[in-house]
């Protein structure tokens, strides 16, 4: 029972560990008990019940699997859409063009209904976010063991295929959106206007420190909530798939099929929410209060 519990635990944690490449500092005890020699070593992080090498590597390490899958999916998205864009005809569209156009139309409708200013960046940004996040989330529907198994056969110890279950990926996007919020706030209202917005409301100039505190919390909450909402939903969904995968093989589909169907809704919804909130935040950044 104890060993079974142990293997379940290691199975789960194995599936939730990124393939991290970084530098282990000198003197670190590795997962297999060896000690890192002079000058440290650049390597992939291995983890065991007692050692967390990825954490030891600190900030200067990179999750190779997250980067690989997110960039691959981003390129897939751009390649697909670019192919359609090159052959785009104003006549009768083919199946692929129809599909792409309906997505573009959908995104454009959303942008137009939320964002009333003129800005050539917003719609392509929204489209990129929607499709890219959707594709990253979609990796969740690939059975949890397939790609990690193939990877382990190729000698790759860890492989987390859903980039949006990595807080780095979602937070990276959210921070990029945050940078755009700051940029457009200052561009549209000037530094003074932006500062005034942060400090002079909602309670007037006599409560300036309070206002500032309130507004800055509100501002910072935007990227954090954006990142954590997507990450949390995807991480939890992935976790449920992993737990279902622990069941005997003949019982798995009873749960995995309904959950997968339900998850189709979630991955689309989360991509949509990320897109809409980005548009809303940027629309707010454009507006004078």
């Amino acid at each position: 029972m104890a060993t079974e519990l142990m293997t379940s635990k290691s199975y789960i944690s194995h599936h939730l560990t990124n393939l991290t490449f970084g530098k282990l500092p000198e003197g670190t005890t590795r997962y297999d008990g060896t000690i890192v020699g002079d000058g440290g070593v650049w390597t992939f992080a291995h983890s065991s019940a007692t050692v967390n090498e990825a954490a030891t590597m600190g900030f200067w390490a990179i999750n190779v699997d997250t980067m690989f899958w997110s960039i691959a999916l981003g390129i897939l998205f751009l390649w697909l859409f670019r192919k359609v864009a090159v052959n785009a005809t104003s006549g009768v569209p083919g199946k692929m063009q129809n599909f792409v156009e309906s997505i573009v139309d959908f995104v454009e409708d959303n942008v137009n209904s939320i964002f009333s200013h003129k800005n050539a960046l917003i719609a392509p940004l929204a489209l990129t976010i929607f499709v890219w996040v959707f594709l990253m989330n979609l990796m969740d529907l690939v059975p949890v063991d397939w790609i990690p198994y193939i990877a382990s056969q190729m000698g790759i110890p860890y492989m987390k295929v859903v980039p949006s279950t990595d807080i780095n990926a979602t937070l990276g996007m959210a921070l990029a959106v945050f940078a755009l919020i700051i940029y457009y706030s200052i561009k549209m209202k000037g530094v003074g206007g932006f500062m005034a917005e942060l400090s002079l409301q909602p309670l007037g100039k006599w409560l300036l420190p309070f206002n500032l505190f309130l507004e800055i919390v509100g501002l910072i909450a935007k990227p954090i909530s954006l990142a954590l909402r997507l990450f949390g939903n995807m991480y939890a969904g992935e976790m449920v798939f992993i737990l279902i995968a622990l069941l005997p093989f003949w019982a798995q589909w009873v749960l995995s099929v309904p959950w997968a169907i339900f998850h189709i809704l979630i991955i689309t919804l989360q991509a949509f929410i990320f897109m809409v909130l980005t548009i809303v935040y940027l629309a707010m950044a454009h507006e004078e209060h």
Partner: protein, 156 residues
């Protein structure tokens, strides 16, 4: 679950994807959509115009039809009139011709009758003389009795 360099990598990737999308994906697709929208609007417009044209053409055709009907009615009437005129003329001509033929025939008949009478008269004279000759068994002076015979012939 560790925050690391991936976050920066993700921002850079995101930046490039957005720029690429903005430069090479979004404009051609929306341009195609816009152009199609315009085409459809033009098509609908053309259809409207065609419908209006069709209506006008129908009206025109109806008017033309009415015109030609009137015209043909006039022509038929004229033709009828002309036909009856021709018939009348023919009738008149026929009547005249008949009259003329009748007159000619009458003249012929009269002439024939006269000739017959003349012939008869001469032959009667001869017959009378022959008869008288036979009756009298004597020679009769033709010259002496010519006056008598002529008188007899004239009486016939």
């Amino acid at each position: 679950m560790n925050i690391n360099l991936t976050i920066i990598g993700q921002i850079i990737a995101f930046f490039f994807f957005v720029v690429f999308c903005m430069k090479y994906v979004w404009p051609p697709i929306t341009a195609a959509l816009e152009e199609r929208k315009k085409k459809i609007a033009e098509g609908l417009d053309a259809a409207d115009r065609a419908e209006r044209d069709l209506l006008a053409a129908k009206e025109q055709a109806e008017a033309d039809m009415q015109d030609s009907k009137e015209q043909s009615a006039a022509i038929i009437e004229q033709a009828n009139k002309r036909a009856s005129q021709i018939v009348d003329e023919a009738k008149e001509a026929a009547t005249a011709e008949a009259e003329r033929i009748k007159l000619a025939a009458q003249a012929d008949i009269e002439q024939e009758v006269n000739r017959a009478k003349e012939t008869l008269r001469t032959q009667v004279a001869v017959l009378a003389i022959a008869g008288a000759e036979k009756i009298l068994e004597a020679s009769v002076d033709e010259a002496a009795h010519a006056k008598l015979v002529d008188k007899l012939a004239a009486e016939l």
